[in-house]
């Protein structure tokens, strides 16, 4: 399969640090997109600010590199303006769950047909290793030199609770599963969210003595478990593992936001307005 057509080859190599997991996410996304029946010319990829934000520059689509945290809000405008476009958002844990957290939950609540891929490396990498809402309690960060006292989000549960209709979690140690999750998310009609665990050996790993990329990937594998197996664990055991796979899937295309708005347009035009 020709994957290069989905990349802006002249913009490579990318700027991500050696050992960073973001390239694995990009790779898995391209493979998923190639298997989808989406038209490359009718697809817009939108990102915010941070390491994840740079992904759009490498992708050969209409791409929009927005302000910090606002990718989903821009994407909502693009999708509503032209619902025929496939709109994909690439965001990070800081971009998507801190400064952009409000847009994340409200887009989920509307169930607007966006595919949100959140690169979760548990740190602000671009700015040099400050703690994010996804940095585990007790970990070290440049702004938590004595240990992070914040509690981190369970993002998948947050977005599911907000009304997102497709919620999944994957990890860079298993790119084949990531690809499958992205493909399912792309196909889903409604708000889809794939939390993608990624490793940051430079800004997170060094401060927390987590080792190199290989060691961090091994730790990722230890800390995660297939969702079906996770469901069979005891309440106490569940707290120790992150489930991977499709965590929620509600197939109801009629509840999608642009579909519902189109019904309003038809209703107003058929029945007469106020």
């Amino acid at each position: 399969m020709d994957f290069e057509k989905y990349l802006r080859m002249d913009k490579l190599p990318h700027i991500w640090c050696p050992g960073c997991g973001h390239g694995t996410i990009l790779n898995s996304f391209i493979r998923a997109f190639a298997e989808s029946d989406f038209d490359q010319d009718k697809t817009v990829v939108i990102s915010g600010i941070g390491c994840s934000g740079r992904a759009t520059g490498y992708l050969n689509f209409d791409t929009l590199h927005t302000t910090h945290g606002r990718a989903i809000a821009f994407a909502t405008g693009v999708k509503m303006a032209n619902p025929e476009l496939n709109v994909i958002v690439m965001t990070g844990d800081g971009d998507g769950s801190a400064i952009g957290g409000n847009h994340l939950i409200h887009a989920a609540r509307r169930n607007i047909d966006l595919t949100v891929i959140l690169f979760n490396n548990q740190i602000y990498g671009m700015t040099g290793g400050q703690f994010s809402p996804m940095t585990p309690t007790g970990d070290l960060a440049s702004t938590a030199p004595y240990g992070n006292i914040d509690q981190n989000f369970n993002l998948a549960e947050l977005v599911a609770g907000a009304g997102g209709t497709f919620i999944a979690r994957g990890a860079t140690f298993d790119p084949r599963q990531l690809k499958k999750l992205y493909l399912a998310a792309l196909k889903h009609k409604g708000f889809s969210f794939v939390e993608s665990l990624s490793q940051c050996p430079v800004s997170y790993g060094r401060q927390n003595k987590a080792g190199d990329a290989v060691e961090m990937l091994k730790k990722q594998e230890e800390d995660t478990i297939n969702f079906k197996k996770w469901q069979q664990l005891s309440t106490e055991e569940k707290k120790l593992k992150y489930p991977l796979g499709i965590l929620k899937e509600l197939d109801n295309p009629e509840s999608e936001y642009t579909v519902r708005y189109q019904k309003i347009i038809e209703q107003v035009n058929n029945e007469g307005a106020l």
């Binding site: 802006r8 913009k11 490359q40 010319d41 009718k42 817009v44 939108i46 759009t56 520059g57 050969n60 689509f61 209409d62 791409t63 929009l64 590199h65 927005t66 302000t67 606002r70 809000a73 821009f74 994407a75 909502t76 405008g77 693009v78 999708k79 509503m80 303006a81 032209n82 619902p83 025929e84 476009l85 409000n102 847009h103 409200h106 708005y261 189109q262 309003i264 347009i265 038809e266 107003v268 035009n269 307005a273 106020l274």
Partner: protein, 387 residues
């Protein structure tokens, strides 16, 4: 998929508020998209679009906050729609970052600010012109902005059409600065038919544009690059980083300089199309009252009654407040002895008037900044004092 209907208003007289006139003007100019957040005294604009847009197949979005409202209209603009948002001072503050982004990526959008008294929550239901400098300098970095200020319901209609046209023509966000009095005032106005209205659409690349050759930020003679709708197959990159003609950042200082200059010059080479004003200055007038927005109503009233008593005074009403009418005000200053600048703030645009007048005329302010309009008698008293 329903085809979008073209809005064809009938020529008719209506008794409406300034806020509603903004909705009518925007629809007449081809706006098909609104996103915003409720705020006094601008909520009637959102309500109007919520009611009207579905009728023409357009889209209305009530977003989760002001920031998202601004982001969504920029997204819609890039997807090819004429898009507008509306707010008041506190919301305008929240929109600033994405307004700067719109300037940087050259997305045509209109931002309406129905001003109320600030700072902070201030006096939500009282008029103010306190956001004049916020409109000019509210964002990080040097940048140009176009800001128009209607002084009546008719002007709210006409200048909304103008704002949409200017945004499309120059690929430039335009701010429309009403105030609470203009927003809520009801006046009889005439809505035009669509064939009476000049409508400008953004320049787009040719239908047979080769995607491999497309430069989304091409350096053209008019300094305004043709803009492709997302989804038209040209697959281009849009970024708030300084970018070269290809749309990609290269981190070079020369690229940033070139772009800064182009963004400035695309407006400053065309000030005659952007700077709008009205005036009534007679040859022997010794004083001019220069104003904008609701303060202009008082100013014109004071001048007209003063003239009945043979006061040598005229009026000058700015409809475009940014870019500032520097040349016109310099000419005015050469013509009269005194310029009086009534404003509903502690003296914001008067700084520009003084700068442009450059000592050629005495410049005096009359200021009301706690929610009350300036009374014609106050201007009359100062006219008599200086004449």
């Amino acid at each position: 998929m329903m085809k979008t209907k073209i809005f064809r208003p009938e020529k008719r007289a209506v008794l409406i508020q300034g806020d509603q006139a903004v909705v009518e003007g925007a629809l007449a100019a081809g706006v098909e998209f609104f996103a915003g957040y409720p705020i006094t005294p601008a909520s009637e604009i959102a309500e109007g679009f919520a009611r009207e847009l579905p009728k023409i197949g357009g889209k209305f979005l009530q977003m989760e906050d002001e920031i998202a409202g601004m982001a969504a209209v920029v997204g819609a603009s890039l997807a090819g729609k004429k898009a507008i948002t509306a707010t008041s001072g506190p919301g305008f503050a929240l929109k600033q970052e994405n307004l700067g982004f719109a300037t940087m990526v050259e997305a045509p959008v209109v931002v309406v600010n129905v001003q109320r008294v600030g700072p902070s929550t201030g006096l939500p239901t009282s008029p103010s012109q306190g956001d004049v400098m916020q409109a000019r300098w509210g964002r990080n970095g040097d940048q140009e902005i176009i800001a128009l200020a209607p002084a009546s319901v008719t002007e709210s209609y006409e200048l909304t059409i103008k704002a949409v046209n200017l945004s499309e023509k120059f690929r430039q966000p335009v701010v429309l600065m009403l105030d609470e009095v203009i927003g809520h005032l009801r006046e009889k106005i005439y809505l035009s038919t669509s064939d009476e209205i000049e409508i400008i659409d953004r320049k787009r690349p040719a239908a047979d544009q080769d995607p491999d050759q497309y430069l989304p930020y091409q350096l053209t003679d008019d300094l305004i690059p043709p803009m492709a709708d997302y989804g038209s197959g040209l697959k281009y990159h849009t970024s708030g980083l300084f970018h070269d003609q290809s749309g990609f950042p290269d981190g070079k200082n020369e690229t940033a300089k070139l772009m800064q200059d182009r963004l400035h010059n695309k407006l400053h080479n065309n000030l005659d199309q952007i700077i709008l004003y009205q005036k009534d200055i007679r040859k022997d007038d010794r004083v001019a009252v220069l104003s904008y927005g609701s303060a202009a109503r008082t100013a014109i009233s004071a001048v007209n009654t003063g003239r009945k008593d043979n006061l040598k005074a005229g009026w000058f009403k700015l409809q475009t407040i940014w870019p500032f009418a520097e040349k016109e005000v310099a000419e005015l200053a050469a013509q009269v002895e005194t310029i009086i600048v009534p404003e509903l703030n502690q003296g914001q645009l008067i700084r520009e008037v003084k700068r442009a007048a450059a000592g050629q005329a005495k410049v005096l302010g009359i200021n009301s900044y706690a929610g009350e309009l300036i009374k014609p008698e106050e201007i009359r008293a100062l006219l008599e004092e200086v004449l």
